[in-house]
């Protein structure tokens, strides 16, 4: 059981993915510093991207590029998750940059990045 588990790249990476998700969400839910929260969300995002690629991977197959001679379609891993992850990564960096710019503005107004010290909006 354990041997099967450890010799399989899927499951090794999958454990990493789940740990990344746990760490990311833990950070996002418990940290108070805005930049730290963004870092944590970025880690969770990396986890999801890795998850996507893992489900497209098939042991013993190779990258979906017809470069070497004689490579046929049946020898390739699933290309669709790779295309989707490309999109997801770019969206991730877009959100990140926008978030940091808003954070710079928040800092300008409040002089702190601590969520609990940024006064809650009222009335």
């Amino acid at each position: 059981m354990i041997e099967r588990f450890l010799m399989n790249t899927h499951y090794i990476v999958l454990i990493g993915v789940i740990l990344l998700l746990i760490i990311g969400f833990f950070g996002a839910l418990t940290k108070r510093n805005l930049i730290k929260i963004l870092i944590a969300l970025g880690i969770a995002d990396t986890g999801v991207n890795l998850f996507f690629i893992t489900i497209g991977y098939i042991s013993g197959k190779t990258a979906p590029i017809f470069s070497k001679n004689g490579l046929t379609a049946s020898q390739m891993v699933d290309p669709v998750p790779q295309a989707l992850v490309l999109t997801a990564i770019v969206i991730g960096v877009a959100v990140l940059a926008l978030g940091l710019s808003i954070i710079i503005r928040v800092y300008e107004h409040y002089g702190t990045l601590n969520v609990s010290r940024i006064k809650r909006m009222r009335g």
């Binding site: 969400f25 996002a28 805005l34 929260i37 963004l38 969300l41 969770a44 995002d45 999801v48 998850f51 996507f52 489900i55 669709v80 998750p81 989707l84 999109t87 997801a88 969206i91 877009a94 959100v95 926008l98 978030g99 808003i102 954070i103 503005r105 928040v106 300008e108 107004h109 409040y110 940024i118 909006m121 009222r122 009335g123």
Partner: protein, 492 residues
């Protein structure tokens, strides 16, 4: 034969990309281009409407038939919402022509254009990952629009919105990944056709992830703690767009996913409970507010709760009521946010204190606000009445009497706080510190049109009824959606 509906997405994109260059021609060219584009979208969506009601249309992109390529799925429900979205976008855009929310007019008009384009894309697309991309387009422009004024409240609301939104997109991606792993397809009709072939445990996980993600987008309790801040912090016309356009797209995604794709009755039932919770919590929170914009935000959440409740009941009448309420909520909240935005601008703030007696200074604007408030409370000749009545009758028929009582109680609370606002506005003595300024025509026209819609829909709901019926049928007829999208749609 009419224009290809893909232009509803391609043309706004084209214009948005060229707005930076239009700035060289005229300083305000971007704004006018935005307004003209939204008018074009409105025109195109209304001209597609009758065709789609005859038979749903499938628009193929890049020449690959579904499930291999991305396609647009133009069904009655989606085209109806596309009409609503582009019409509301256009009305708000007229208001924006004169509005000086920000000094970066060019960027502002791009963002507005793309927020409407994103919402249109969500309701029209037939591919689940493409829907995710459009959701991101919509939400990223919403984050930027929320904090575009660079002030305290706007920045704070914007960063909250952004953090919650990123969590939502993580969930959505996880759900999509699981579905793709099981079925090997991303086309919504194809997923719907084979959804039962998924491993039940994984199907449950995928549905929960997407439910959570879309719950955030559709502002469902308890995932909506950020929403009042956003409604308060964003500029008033932007808040109007949020409640008239972006929430609608989020709700559409939720309904499409639960009814058409997964057809999961237990989650639909869950929606009913969450809807009720949303209504009660937000109406009670609205009671405590001292800022009218924030109060409107809570009230907006309350209306969304009513829609979610109706969607959760799931009978045909309830869904008709829900679609009707979509329209009413969009029109009413747009009216109120736009009028309160102007009043707040003239009075110097949107708190009760600052708005004292404003009704005597600006009878027209405050009157418009009052009509909106009466509409939300459901006074008979206005439009809010019919839809709520339909939803409550449907709920009573489905024997959810306790829930009906709760919604009614919440409506009483709603009436209470709106009367308080009206009292502050009209009964207090006229303030001396505020000067009377003339209201520009660009502000008056949208408000008049919106009030006309409130009264018109209230007096003649029968005109729109066939459309509500068609949209509700579309939500319920899952098999038709699948067969049409996979085997070819109607003609344009």
């Amino acid at each position: 034969m009419s224009l290809n509906p893909i232009l509803m997405i391609a043309v706004p994109l084209f214009v948005a990309f060229s707005i930076p260059l239009l700035g060289y021609i005229h300083k305000k060219a971007g704004l006018y281009a935005m307004s003209a584009t939204l008018l074009f979208n409105t025109f195109l969506s209304f001209s597609t409407l009758p065709h789609a009601f005859e038979k749903p249309i499938r628009v193929i992109i890049a020449g690959y038939k579904p499930p291999f390529g991305i396609n647009l799925a133009i069904t009655p429900f989606s085209i109806f919402l596309a009409c609503l979205i582009s019409l509301m976008g256009f009305i708000v855009s007229i208001y924006l022509l004169k509005d000086e929310t920000t000094e970066t007019q060019e960027k502002f008009s791009m963002l507005i254009l793309l927020v409407v384009m994103g919402a249109t894309g969500i309701v029209l697309t037939g591919d689940i990952f493409n829907m995710f991309v459009f959701l991101e387009i919509m939400s990223i422009s919403s984050y930027a629009l929320t904090s575009i004024r660079k002030d305290r409240k706007g920045s704070e609301a914007g960063i909250k919105f952004l953090l919650v939104g990123s969590i939502s997109s993580t969930f959505l991606l996880l759900g999509i990944a699981i579905i793709y792993n099981q079925l090997g397809t991303l086309n919504m009709a194809d997923i719907a056709r084979r959804f039962s072939q998924m491993n039940p445990k994984l199907a449950f996980a995928a549905v929960s992830f997407l439910f959570l993600g879309l719950g955030i987008e559709s502002e469902m309790f308890p995932l909506n703690a950020w929403a009042p801040d956003v409604y308060q912090g964003a500029p008033a016309p932007v808040a109007a767009l949020f409640s008239a356009v972006t929430v609608k797209a989020g709700l559409y995604a939720m309904i499409r996913f639960l009814y058409t794709i997964s057809n999961n009755s237990s989650f639909i039932k869950l929606l009913m409970l969450f809807g009720i919770a949303t209504v009660i919590v937000s109406e009670l929170s609205a009671l405590k507010q001292t800022d009218v914009k924030r109060m409107l935000g809570y009230s907006s959440l309350g209306q969304i709760g009513v829609i979610l409740f109706a969607v959760g009941i799931g009978t045909k009448t309830a869904l008709e009521g829900a679609v009707f309420h979509f329209v009413n909520h969009a029109v009413l909240k747009a009216t109120m946010f736009l009028s309160i935005g102007l009043l707040a601008k003239y009075a110097g703030g949107s708190s009760f204190e600052e708005l004292k007696g404003i009704g005597k200074k600006y009878p027209f604007l405050a009157g418009v606000f009052a009509i909106g408030a009466l509409g939300v409370m459901g006074f008979p000749p206005l439009n809010g009445f019919m839809s709520k009545l339909m939803i409550l009758t449907a709920a009573a028929k489905a024997e959810h009497v306790v829930l009906v009582m709760l919604v009614l109680a919440a409506s009483v609370v709603e009436g209470f706080y709106y009367f308080r606002v009206l009292q502050v506005m009209f009964r207090e003595p006229e303030p001396t510190r505020i000067e009377k300024r003339s209201v520009s025509l660009a502000f008056v026209i949208p408000l008049v049109v919106l009030v006309g819609m409130i009264v018109g829909i209230g007096l003649f709901p029968g005109v729109l009824m066939p459309y509500f019926k068609g949209a509700a049928m579309d939500i319920l007829s899952r098999g038709d959606y699948i067969s049409v999208m996979l085997s070819g749609g109607g003609a344009l």
